[in-house]
């Protein structure tokens, strides 16, 4: 061998070691980062635990969007989400989740749901009651046509009885003169105007002045609309002078004053024979936001905090034992390369955990189980390569050549197997409900990371090992041989 050959051989060896050490250093650095994030309660990227591990309540509400223009549903649902989010924040729960979920196109009827997750809240009744306090405020126009239809159907008697308790009211600038007997118009022949609590900005308690034509000091609720709401309100009142505008709270008619002129001020007054206490309560509830559509509780789930911690503890234990057992098995079977696969598996775990923290992925009992399962499957690419490598090594290639050929030959199998897995994960993510989506996400990331750990980490580390031939029959060459055959 000439001098220059020796030199370049030396620098190549150095490069191999250099690369290997850098890979190991990065993994150790990442592991430390994950660990620091996990133990530090104020870390920027802590693990995010799902309700079944952290304990808490999960509520699903279904929104009645049947009367809403399909094009507006998305906007309406996000308005609804904001309102409930403000409501839920009253609890002072750390990181409540309020999200909109719509049923996918595979189900017959499109439904829109609101998912509320309250970590740490195990008293569902309290949560349900608090959310239930959100008022539903609607402004509807009296419709002669509808009323006549109802008369024709003979429903008037029962209706008029139901509304006889309703009292008189007034819009902000209207005068008192045209009060109509509300009992006669009933609470059903009203048409939606699109003006709802969604356009509410604030609400405050007020007392009627002495010259307003009503009982002095009657408690009232003054609502102020947003810019959009004010415009809508002005438009409705302008187009319907002389008509009655019904104010509905939680589906019940509160009052139906006559519109005397267009109201452009953007405020309305709600009266309804309130006591001062009732009016204060309503103003408070309205100022947290009013529901733009009616919602109904569809499902609830509560998990006790101690139980969740127990499940988490067990999951972590299972994961750790799993990793140790797999490393032992791989080392016994594939010897030195097996140990390398063990290091790659540890890197897989580290990278996955760091991604869980960074993305962040909400960890659930199911997700944890899926992760433990993935440990067993993550070494598959290594196994494929090592089996190929063994064939070449037995045929007489040097260990490094065998490794290079092993990677090359195993590639198509690794590619095809992983692409199908990835495609499955994408489809699951697409179709699945939130729980399945989480599983699909972990599964998909797992496929990519396991490929990376085998193709980059295992490869770099394998090439670090000294180059020997099987025929040399030294202890090192035996360590590099694998499996039980000869």
């Amino acid at each position: 061998m000439s001098n220059s050959d020796k030199q370049s051989e030396g620098s190549v060896t150095f490069l191999r070691w250099f690369r290997g050490l850098i890979v190991i250093a990065i993994v150790i650095w990442l592991a430390n980062l994950v660990y620091q994030n996990a133990i530090n309660p104020e870390a920027e990227h802590p693990f995010k635990l799902g309700l079944d591990l952290a304990g808490g309540s999960h509520l699903v509400y279904v929104a009645d969007t049947s009367k809403v223009d399909p094009l507006e549903v998305t906007e309406l649902m996000s308005a609804l989400r904001d309102v409930i989010e403000r409501r839920v924040n009253i609890f002072g729960v750390s990181e409540p989740i309020v999200q909109v979920e719509s049923s996918s196109f595979v189900s017959d009827e499109p439904t829109n749901r609101l998912v509320v997750e309250l970590p740490g809240v195990t008293d569902v009744s309290q949560a349900v009651a608090e959310i239930g306090r959100t008022p539903l405020l609607e402004f509807k126009l009296y419709s002669e046509e509808l009323a006549q239809q109802q008369v024709a159907l003979g429903g008037l008697e029962s209706i008029s009885a139901a509304t006889s308790t309703t009292t008189e009211t007034e819009l902000a600038t209207s005068t008192e003169s045209d009060e109509i007997n509300i009992a006669a118009i009933a609470n059903l022949p009203f048409e939606d105007t699109g003006l709802t609590g969604r356009y509410l900005e604030t609400a405050s308690l007020e007392f009627a002045g002495s010259n307003s034509g009503r009982l002095a000091n009657e408690p009232l609720v003054n609502v102020r609309f947003t810019k959009e709401g004010a415009d809508l309100f002005a438009e409705i009142t302008r187009a319907n002078v002389g008509e009655q505008l019904g104010i509905f709270l939680d589906g019940e008619l509160l009052s139906a004053p006559v519109i005397n002129e267009a109201i452009t001020g953007g405020t309305a007054i709600i009266s309804g024979g309130f006591t001062a206490e009732e009016a204060r309560e309503l103003a408070r509830n309205l100022s947290f936001g009013a529901l733009p559509v009616a919602i109904e509780l569809q499902s609830t789930q509560t998990v006790g905090a101690t139980l969740g911690a127990e499940v988490l503890d067990k999951g972590v234990k299972a994961g750790s034992f799993g990793v140790v057992l797999i490393i032992i098995f791989m080392t016994l079977w594939y010897r030195l390369p097996g140990l390398v696969a063990g290091v790659a598996l540890l890197s897989y775990v580290t990278i996955m955990l760091s991604l869980f923290q960074l993305i962040p992925v909400t960890l659930t009992a199911a997700g944890l189980a899926g992760f433990v399962l993935s440990l067993g499957m993550a070494v598959d690419a290594n196994v494929l390569v090592f089996e190929r490598m063994k064939e070449e090594y037995t045929k007489g290639s040097s260990s490094r050549e065998a490794a290079a050929t092993g990677f090359k030959r195993a590639w198509t199998a690794i590619r095809d197997g992983n692409v199908t897995s990835l495609l499955s994960a994408i489809i699951l993510f697409w179709f699945g409900t939130s729980m399945v989506k989480g599983f699909a996400l972990v599964f998909g990331i797992g496929v990519l990371v396991s490929m990376f750990s085998a193709l980059v980490i295992t490869r770099t580390l394998l090439l670090m090992l000294p180059d020997v031939k099987k025929a040399q029959a030294t202890s090192l060459s035996k360590l590099l041989a694998s499996g039980i055959n000869k």
Binding site: T302, E310, L368, D416, V436
Partner: protein
């Protein structure tokens, strides 16, 4: 290779397993949980547990429609616990039930409560069905394209089709196990079971593809290329391939060469699942068990069903063509 030589035996075993599985599923049915049917599940744990019958009378006295069931269990802290399944409870009903069940026995505590409306249940069922169908479809198409061009002696669609047949076997076995568990122990099918099935699906396809990948490679190594006679005017050159070894021998060596890999990957996966079963939380025990059955079935099928089936199909096709 034994799997190819005795392929008739192995395929008969597989056919029997599939038949038994279908009979079990059809005969015993699946015990669908509230995730799919809607309803409520109350989990209560005790320091000193009351008799199961006490709880049953308590729930029976409520006279709720749709029946009820009470199942004994051990919770994750080692206390004795019960699962009480009822109709979809309202808030007031839930509070009443919680108060009453924690009153009997000592140290009663509601550890989990789940209530699912019937609409969500139905939707979940639909979604699960669509998801599985979608995955299966995409796999056939991918396999057919990835194996395009190995069309001697069987087409790439055959490999795709057989991947799916194998998949059905692998999914039926754990489903049958689930219906046995449901019938005798009252174990319920929940969302986790669907996820376990999806994982089996992924495992099974991966396992089969690895063997077929080796078949593909060996076929390419053991064939000679001949230019096809061209009709006048065609511009594209077409090739015809002739195998230098019998097809079954090529497939046999592919199975042989991937045998160690198939077994080792299933060992590492089964190790992880065993640990999960014994050390993991009670929620995921059934998940681990179902997957265990699925992985065993998947390993058997990738060695003893997939390749033998390809060879049998090729023989049948050959016999048909020579007639």
């Amino acid at each position: 290779m034994f799997a190819i030589t005795y392929r008739k035996l192995f395929l008969r075993i597989a056919a029997t397993v599939v038949a038994i599985s279908i009979l079990l599923i059809g005969g015993l049915g699946l015990n669908l949980g509230i995730d799919f049917t809607g309803g409520s599940l109350t989990e209560v744990a005790y320091e000193t547990a009351p008799e199961k019958s006490e709880l049953e009378t308590l729930v029976a006295n409520k006279n709720w429609e749709g029946g009820y069931s009470v199942r004994e269990s051990i919770d994750d802290a080692g206390r004795s616990a019960f699962f009480i399944r009822t109709k979809d409870l309202t808030e007031t009903e839930r509070e009443a039930l919680s108060a009453e069940v924690t009153n009997i026995g000592e140290g009663g505590e509601i550890t989990r409560f789940t209530s699912i409306g019937p609409v969500i249940g139905q939707e979940l069922k639909d979604k699960a069905g669509w998801a599985i169908a979608g995955v299966v479809l995409i796999i056939v198409i991918y396999v057919a394209f990835a194996f395009a061009g190995i069309g001697t002696p069987v087409s790439s669609w055959t490999y795709g089709g057989i991947t799916i047949l194998v998949l059905i076997h692998d999914v039926l076995v754990p489903t049958a196990l689930m219906s046995v568990l449901g019938y005798f122990l009252g174990v319920e099918v929940d969302v986790l079971f669907v996820m376990a099935l999806l994982a089996v699906l992924g495992y099974s396809v991966n396992d089969t593809i690895v063997v077929f990948d080796r078949v593909r490679e060996n076929l390419i190594q053991n064939r000679t290329e001949h230019k096809k006679k061209q009709a006048a005017g065609t511009v594209r050159e077409e090739f015809e391939y002739r195998l230098t070894k019998p097809y079954e021998e090529i497939v046999g060596s592919a199975v042989q060469e991937t045998l160690a890999r198939s077994i080792n990957t299933s060992i590492t996966t089964l190790l992880a699942l065993t640990v999960l079963y014994f050390l993991g939380g009670s929620v995921t025990q059934t998940f681990a068990l179902v997957l265990f059955a699925g992985v065993l079935a998947g390993t058997y099928s990738s060695i003893c069903i997939a390749s033998p089936l390809v060879v049998s199909y090729a023989k049948w096709q050959e016999a048909k063509n020579s007639k």
